[in-house]
Symmetry: C2
């Protein structure tokens, strides 16, 4: 389901999880019909194999869209509504093979060029988190699921719009390694082994910053109080996730200061704006 | 220094760190002199290769002691004062190759049959911790040390008496994996690599229980809220450390409840008394 963006959208519909308008695209004529349904601007995406912003294009006219369609292979595409969202969140949880469910606090995510840059948790109001958890539970139960599952949402005017789902541990949950009692990785193992799920209680407001393309000086990152550096040992390449840094703070204010400090170290040449804490 | 109990005691003396009375023993005549200096009961130990209660005997008379001396090899021994302590603590800290020092909260330790069973942190009064930290700093500076170092103390009537020191990460610091921002293992690497030392601030009152000889049912251990199970994957054998469990609690009262619950699971057949929190 989650490998085909069309099946994924239909799943959201079937489960009553609000999502963006969408239409399949397999031809120029199909594209025209899709744009009438979805509106402009729109996002044209390959149905399969897209990740980290790859295999998609924002289009602002039919000519734009037709060019993008041909570049993306002509068919096997999906056209989605372009959502000028206020911010993005994701909800991550686990269901064990015994039916026990445990959900982490709501994540606030910032993508740049289609790649996750920053996750802050907890994020959003209690009401928003409750609605996200309800959507997640519906999906977990629907599949009689065992393991960790993630759903990403756009938030616009306080409304959740599901963007995509991943039936696995997720980059937006890496902060759980230090920020909660049970990391998403341990939780996944507990879930599929039928062991009791672990506590997802927060140890402190957390921020995770991805290290993309190149690694800043270790000394500078490790001098940030409480910073946990994860170096994946991968060869640097533009746009490649090479590691991440997590800070677990004592207060939201302290976390925000840590987030700003980390971003200045990680992206010294450009300013990444963080949506205000809501 | 720490591989020879005699050199270790002399080091404590030289650094002004209070320790138990002691005397070297290499003969029957030396034993008699040692017992006059140290008093009875006493503890006779091999100077080298002793750990986890191996290579030592508590003796209550000269005949007792002479028998133990022959069993322990006759020479290369040390005779120490037997200390009827109130409880045991250890202090763990790191010094980096740049001279930075970071110390963890004081650990309260419980040994049974010479093997560490339980560590609770923080433990003891602020005044006691301050004195332990001063002793640790003196030793770190003395050696121009780089890495993690541990000193174990008996506490009697509020006085610290150094028992032994280990120039390495230590079992009584295993709780730092989850209970602080920077585990003793990461701290050791930061220290010897000359990187900034990490925060040793507590994430919550913590308890670590060793799994000795056999592993209890995983399900029961993992059902304890917040329990972190570490299974070393070793073959079970009586007296062998096979793993440990850590719980990081929100309060000392919650930690004490978790400690009792874990001990009931880990040692169902005998009651291990925990000294009261001071």
């Amino acid at each position: 389901m989650s490998q085909d963006r069309l099946a994924e959208k239909r799943l959201f519909d079937r489960l009553g999880i609000p999502t963006t308008r969408y239409a399949r695209v397999d031809s120029a004529r199909g594209l025209a019909a899709a744009l009438r349904h979805v509106g402009l601007p729109a996002v044209l995406k390959t149905r399969r194999m897209g990740y980290d912003g790859k295999g998609q294009a924002v289009v602002r006219s039919f000519d734009d869209a037709e060019r993008a369609r041909l570049e993306l292979g002509g068919n096997g595409l999906i056209c989605e509504e372009f959502v000028p969202f206020d911010y993005e969140v994701s909800i991550l949880g686990a269901r064990s093979s015994r039916g026990e469910v445990a959900v982490y606090p709501l994540n606030g995510n910032v993508h740049v060029d289609g790649i996750l840059r920053v996750t802050r948790a907890p994020f959003g109001t209690a009401a928003l988190a409750r609605r996200a958890v309800a959507h997640l539970r519906r999906m977990l139960e629907h599949f009689d699921y065992a393991g960790v599952l993630n759903i990403e949402f756009f938030v616009r005017g306080g409304r959740l719009l599901a963007n995509e789902t991943a039936p696995r541990v997720h980059n937006s949950g890496h902060w759980t390694i230090e920020g909660t009692h049970t990391s998403q990785f341990e939780q996944h193992l507990r879930a599929i082994l039928g062991l009791p799920l672990g506590s997802t209680a927060l140890l402190g407001p957390s921020v995770m910053v991805n290290l993309i393309g190149s690694l800043p000086a270790r000394e500078a990152l490790l001098a940030v109080p409480g910073a946990h550096l994860h170096d994946y040992g991968k060869t640097p390449r533009p746009g490649r996730k090479l590691g991440h840094v997590t800070v677990v703070a004592r207060s939201v204010a302290e976390r925000e200061r840590a987030a700003s400090r980390l971003l200045r170290l990680v992206e010294p040449d450009r300013r990444i704006a963080l949506p205000a804490v809501v």
